[in-house]
């Protein structure tokens, strides 16, 4: 998916839990997520905290999209 879209030149931030797969298949801007069934959330947190967590990950993705890169980069 990532490569298909990025091949047209549009930058993609890939938010995913299993960073090694993303690396293997060749995503360029990789943003680690929480867990497979809830990449951008954590049901153990209260709503407000969960929102903050999600916002942090999305901000991280935006940081990735505004950063010039030459090679695969994981935005921790």
């Amino acid at each position: 998916m990532v490569k298909g879209i990025e091949s047209t030149g549009i930058p993609v931030a890939h938010i995913c839990t299993i960073v090694p797969i993303s690396k293997t298949v060749g995503a360029n801007r990789i943003v680690p997520a929480v867990a497979i069934p809830h990449p951008l959330g954590d049901p153990k947190l209260v709503e407000e905290e969960e929102y903050k967590l999600r916002r942090k990950i999305v901000n991280n993705a935006l940081k990735a999209l505004t950063t010039e890169i030459d090679d695969q980069t994981v935005f921790q």
Binding site: T17, I18, V19, P20, I21, T24, A35, I36, P37
Partner: protein, 428 residues
């Protein structure tokens, strides 16, 4: 630890007034089994049906398949920590109704349940078409949550398997096999000249319908640990998962793990089979890293020269498989991995989600995406109403004449990653 497995061969199954074995015929008292299942107040109804090899019968949606076994002597009882006390099993004697199985089915829990055809082309793809199957078609009470329903169905299967297995207790087995693994130091000394071999047993632990239990513990909560191979034959590991039907390990697969079987077969000749490490396939990256670190460390600690690593499921567990392989190879231990493939219906796509050059010895159980047409069957045990929805099905899978066009992904056990079957894949 030494275990004798006494096989009582079952060649047919029938309803009878008493549950018993007579001259290789298993008789089932329908009422008693019904009553046993209905003790669970989450289950509204159950119908007991029989399916024999060659019957024009389709069983679906299949959740689990279980072999009836009973402990005759030695510690503990079958399915320890789940339906019996949490004793350590794997020694003494266990009797098996070889050729019989309990199959749980009924209304769908998720997407992952499968199909067993007792005849026709589909029968070639599932090992369960060769068994005398006692099927429990379970109907949950209204509004029962998915987790609860899955639990109720799982327990019903195990309880019935235990109940049926009891009849084997005082029977004279047709054959007795002996399996022994000694404590590590002694085992190593037994064949000092042979390479030491271990088995890395990956268990599916991705959450609802993707769980496995070890002595009653949800395996996603374990860190990898070592087991005697014989513990697994007594039901120390049970399936709570329905992954995709094709590559889930049913409880039957665990009880009859073929990798353990063939490692024992060549034990003392080609190598020294010294132990099993169980590990999980969790949804957090940190868990994957920790667990694969542990399997590599334990493999090194026990001095393995080579290991077989088997996977369960597909997708992100491909990463667990590759991590295990890479880290164990990095410890200078030779690996063979057993997996299956998702190469697309045309076979032209990438088969695994992850890859590494260290994974240079791969055994595959087949491409799960290959499409098959299953002819209509005279009898459906359960319901075929969910065929379009199960993993491997698609809109239009179930045709009006009752035939089914599906990926073999939907067939229970078709691309098993314990190497249970002969199915495999080549590049053409």
């Amino acid at each position: 630890m030494k275990l004798e497995i006494g096989n009582i061969i079952i060649k047919d199954v029938k309803f009878g007034i008493e549950t018993k074995v007579d001259n290789q015929m298993l008789f089932i008292n329908r009422d008693e089994i019904e009553a046993l299942v209905l003790k669970d107040d989450r289950i509204k109804g159950v119908s007991i049906e029989l399916a024999r090899p060659g019957d024009s019968t389709r069983i679906t949606p299949v959740k689990d398949v279980i072999e009836p076994r009973v402990k005759v002597s030695g510690n503990g009882a079958i399915f320890p920590g789940v339906i019996s006390k949490v004793d350590t099993v794997g020694s003494g004697r266990t009797h098996v109704l070889k050729g019989a199985a309990i199959v749980t089915c009924g209304k769908i829990v998720g997407f992952q349940e499968g199909i067993i055809d007792m005849s026709g082309p589909g029968a070639d793809y599932t090992p369960f078409s060769n068994l005398q199957n006692v099927c429990l078609v379970i109907e949950p009470i209204e509004g029962l949550k998915q987790y609860e329903y899955e639990h109720a169905a799982r327990m019903a299967g195990l309880k019935v398997a235990d109940y049926v297995g009891q009849v084997a207790k005082d029977l004279e087995p047709d054959e007795v096999e002996v399996f022994e693994t000694k404590a590590i130091q002694e085992q190593v000394k037994a064949y000092p000249e042979l390479p030491k071999v271990g088995y890395i047993y990956m268990l599916q632990t991705q959450g609802l319908l993707h769980d496995t239990y070890v002595y009653g513990v949800d395996a996603k909560q374990i860190i990898p640990t070592i087991m005697y191979p014989t513990e697994i034959m007594d039901g120390a590991i049970i399936s709570g998962n329905c992954v995709s039907a094709c590559d889930k390990n049913t409880t039957y697969h665990h009880q009859n793990n073929p990798i353990i079987k063939y490692l024992y077969a060549r034990h003392g000749k080609d190598f020294n089979f010294t132990g099993v490490i169980i590990t999980n396939e969790n949804v957090y990256l940190a868990d994957k890293e920790r667990s694969s670190n542990m399997t590599a460390k334990l493999s090194e600690y026990f001095g393995f020269d080579g290991v077989i690593i088997s996977q369960e499921g597909f997708g992100n567990p491909d990463t667990d498989l590759i991590m295990n392989c890479k880290k164990i190879e990095a410890a200078n231990i030779k690996t063979v991995i057993v997996t299956d493939e998702y190469a697309g219906r045309d076979g032209l796509s990438q088969s695994l989600a992850d890859a590494d050059v260290k994974a240079d010895a791969v055994v595959t159980g087949g491409n799960a995406n290959e499409v098959i047409v299953l002819p209509p069957m005279a009898k459906i045990i359960g319901t075929d109403a969910y065929i379009n929805k199960v993993a491997g099905g698609f809109d239009g899978s179930l045709r009006s004449d009752g035939s089914i066009e599906v990926e073999i992904q939907a067939i229970t056990g078709s691309t098993n990653e314990l190497g249970f079957n002969k199915l495999t894949t080549k590049s053409i």
